[in-house]
């Protein structure tokens, strides 16, 4: 049953592809074949790949446009950083701390997902997109107001809404340290995120999303996308399954955020702005809605591309935009597809098999 199913075969190919790509990059890096800037990009690439997979669950599988996905990443990043830094003295192993940080990030993002989802998921289409956009901006501003410090007595959190309070108001005792300094963000973070950990997170996200898609719950989520009225008529609870997809998506984004946040010594909340949400959405749309393999490739390529195009200097963003347009036409325009099929004969055969 397993091997006969073409979609299952494709899933296995995706897993194999990620593992092979990891091994190649890992060996190249250990032999010093990667440039400095590229090896610095490895963890962010992993984080963006997980972001793309998780957003694809909302946009491609559930079929609801979300423009505030960076908000969940932000929640995950800051809660993960706080968890990792405050546990630094208790848990010496950085790997274990990273895992805990990702779990904490996922949990906090999931809670945020529930809070946002309850009112937002009553809306549909454009309205939902606009409200998620607003949510992303609100999260950014809320985190800008946070002052968090830790000392021997535990965690101290201040909400600096008026701008009149400062780090001194935390009243940390000797030996305590400040984790988040309001708009300056989290500073002095010990970068414990590693490339292998990022790849493990990608694989985990893939297992969760693909297994979900091939289960009863995933079928129900896709049924809502395909035909909501028919889905209700066969007894599928709309709110429950919308929520399930949205919160799972938020949790994965939170874990990706924790990974991302723990890769830099300084992290500010303005990093997770509307632009980031849109960038991730571009990965998803370019890779294909509901197509996890496409999301992974698009996220990886489009994260490397701006760096790789540095040689073009001022034409960099122009080249980036042209690549986007060409790929979009190549994958979605029937005429361009037909032209490609003529130019590359074996592609046509593949397309027929795919249909």
């Amino acid at each position: 049953m397993k091997t006969n199913n073409p979609s299952r075969m494709k899933d296995f190919a995706t897993f194999a592809g990620v593992i092979i790509a990891f091994l190649i990059v890992y060996i190249m890096r250990s032999r010093g074949m990667l440039t400095r800037s590229l090896s610095g990009q490895l963890v962010p690439i992993c984080a963006y790949v997980v972001m793309a997979i998780s957003l694809n669950l909302t946009v491609g599988v559930l079929g609801e446009l979300s423009l505030g996905h960076a908000g969940f990443m932000s929640v995950g990043a800051f809660s993960g950083v706080v968890a990792a830094m405050s546990l630094a003295s208790v848990i010496p192993s950085p790997v274990l701390r990273l895992v805990i940080a990702m779990v904490v990030g996922a949990i906090f993002a999931a809670i945020t997902g529930v809070i946002v989802g309850v009112p937002v998921l009553r809306l549909q289409g454009d309205y939902l997109a606009i409200v998620t956009l607003a949510f992303g901006e609100i999260i950014k501003d809320l985190i800008n107001c946070l002052i968090v410090g830790v000392d021997e007595r535990g965690l101290h959190i201040l909400f600096n809404a008026t701008g009149s309070r400062s780090v001194a108001d935390l009243h940390l005792i000797e030996g305590g340290k400040v984790i988040i300094k309001g708009a300056q963000g989290a500073t002095g973070v010990k970068a414990i995120a590693t490339f292998p950990a990022g790849v493990v997170l990608i694989l985990l996200a893939l297992v969760i999303v693909l297994n979900l898609m091939h289960s009863r719950s995933g079928r129900a989520i896709m049924a809502l996308r395909d035909n909501r009225i028919a889905a209700e008529s066969v007894g599928i609870n709309v709110t429950k399954y919308k929520m399930m997809a949205f919160v799972t998506s938020a949790a994965l984004a939170g874990a990706a955020g924790a990974l991302y946040g723990l890769n830099f010594s300084t992290i500010v909340s303005s990093k997770f702005n509307f632009n980031t949400s849109i960038t991730v959405l571009v990965f998803v749309v370019l890779g294909g809605l509901g197509n996890m393999t496409g999301s992974i490739i698009a996220a990886a390529v489009l994260t490397i591309l701006p760096e790789a195009l540095r040689g073009f200097d001022k034409y960099r963003m122009l080249a980036y935009a042209i690549v986007l347009i060409v790929v979009m036409l190549g994958t979605n325009n029937a005429q361009v597809k037909a032209l490609l099929a003529k130019l590359i004969p074996h592609r046509k055969k593949g397309a027929e098999e795919g249909a």
């Binding site: 289960s215 995933g218 079928r219 049924a223 009225i229 028919a230 008529s233 066969v234 007894g235 509901g290």
Partner: protein, 284 residues
């Protein structure tokens, strides 16, 4: 006279206290549907008014009427897509007053749609499994973690889906995308998906639309077969009088949102009000 396709189950209609008729064989049992004086307004428009119908537990009932009479609106009220403005709907004796579509579906009301509504991007088998959604019993985490319960339930679901598909000889299409099926097969798949919900009342909205006479005859036989295999009641909307007169035991005729006649095929065909609704008044 249209050709009659009757099953071994045939029995005469008898009046019931709710101002309707059901087959005599269903008399001792709870009627599957009792719609009492239901009506709905859209703004100032009285789309359906004072509609009363009782459907016996194994009855095949027809709901006919000219275009715009309110037939599909009645289906939408029975499945709670629209909440009726007036009246009561009982399913197996249970009042569906505050219920929504999902709860009514769990009570055993399944339907097909006039304009086919399949889950086009999913496979034929998955469409049937979606019909069986509330029969399959494992949660999100069993699905993600592939716990033993997942494998067990999916295996049962797969076998059941294949069994249901075999009613219409569609097993070979199980792996095709529902959206890529030919028209007739899509109509059949919709019926199978509805049967997957394990209904006690199946609502068919123009099942024979777009079918040729031989396909319609096959459909008539299949509707009888479904009733006799699953022991369920079927309420259908249809413009093909051959089908309605051929298989429906009780027939309700609707015009301008009002019930104008109720009875057997013979009663309906001789009812002057029905003839007027369809053909107009005779001038003298």
């Amino acid at each position: 006279m249209p050709k009659k396709i009757r099953s071994v189950n045939e029995s005469p209609l008898v009046p019931v206290p709710t101002d309707s008729y059901i087959p005599a064989r269903d008399l001792g049992k709870l009627p599957v549907l009792e719609a009492r004086h239901i009506g709905i307004d859209f703004g100032g428009l009285r789309a359906v008014d004072d509609f009363t119908l009782t459907v016996g537990s194994t009855e095949i009932t027809g709901l006919i009427g000219p275009n715009g009479a309110g037939k599909t609106t009645i289906f939408n009220m029975l499945t709670k897509v629209y909440q009726p403005t007036r009246g009561t709907i009982l399913i197996n004796g249970k009042d569906t007053g505050p219920m929504d579509t999902v709860q009514v579906s769990k009570l055993g009301v399944a339907r097909t749609f006039q304009n086919i509504r399949l889950f086009n991007e999913q496979s034929v088998e998955d469409n049937v499994k979606l019909g069986m959604h509330n029969q399959i019993n494992y949660g999100m985490f069993s699905g993600i973690l592939r716990l033993p319960n997942y494998w067990k339930q999916e295996k049962i679901a797969h076998e059941r889906a294949m069994e249901l598909l075999s009613i219409f000889n569609m097993q070979d299409m199980a792996n095709m995308k529902a959206g890529s099926l030919p028209y007739g097969a899509q109509r059949r798949l919709e019926i199978i998906r509805a049967l997957g919900t394990n209904p006690c009342l199946l609502l068919l909205d123009e099942p024979a639309a777009g079918m040729n006479p031989s396909e319609t005859t096959e459909l008539m036989e299949n509707i009888i077969k479904i009733r006799d295999t699953f022991h369920i009641a079927i309420l259908l909307i249809e413009h093909d009088m051959n089908l309605v007169m051929g298989i429906c035991e009780g027939i309700a005729v609707l015009n301008f949102g009002k019930l104008i006649a109720k009875g057997t095929a013979e009663d309906i065909q001789n009812d002057p009000v029905v003839i007027e609704a369809y053909l107009g008044k005779k001038e003298d």
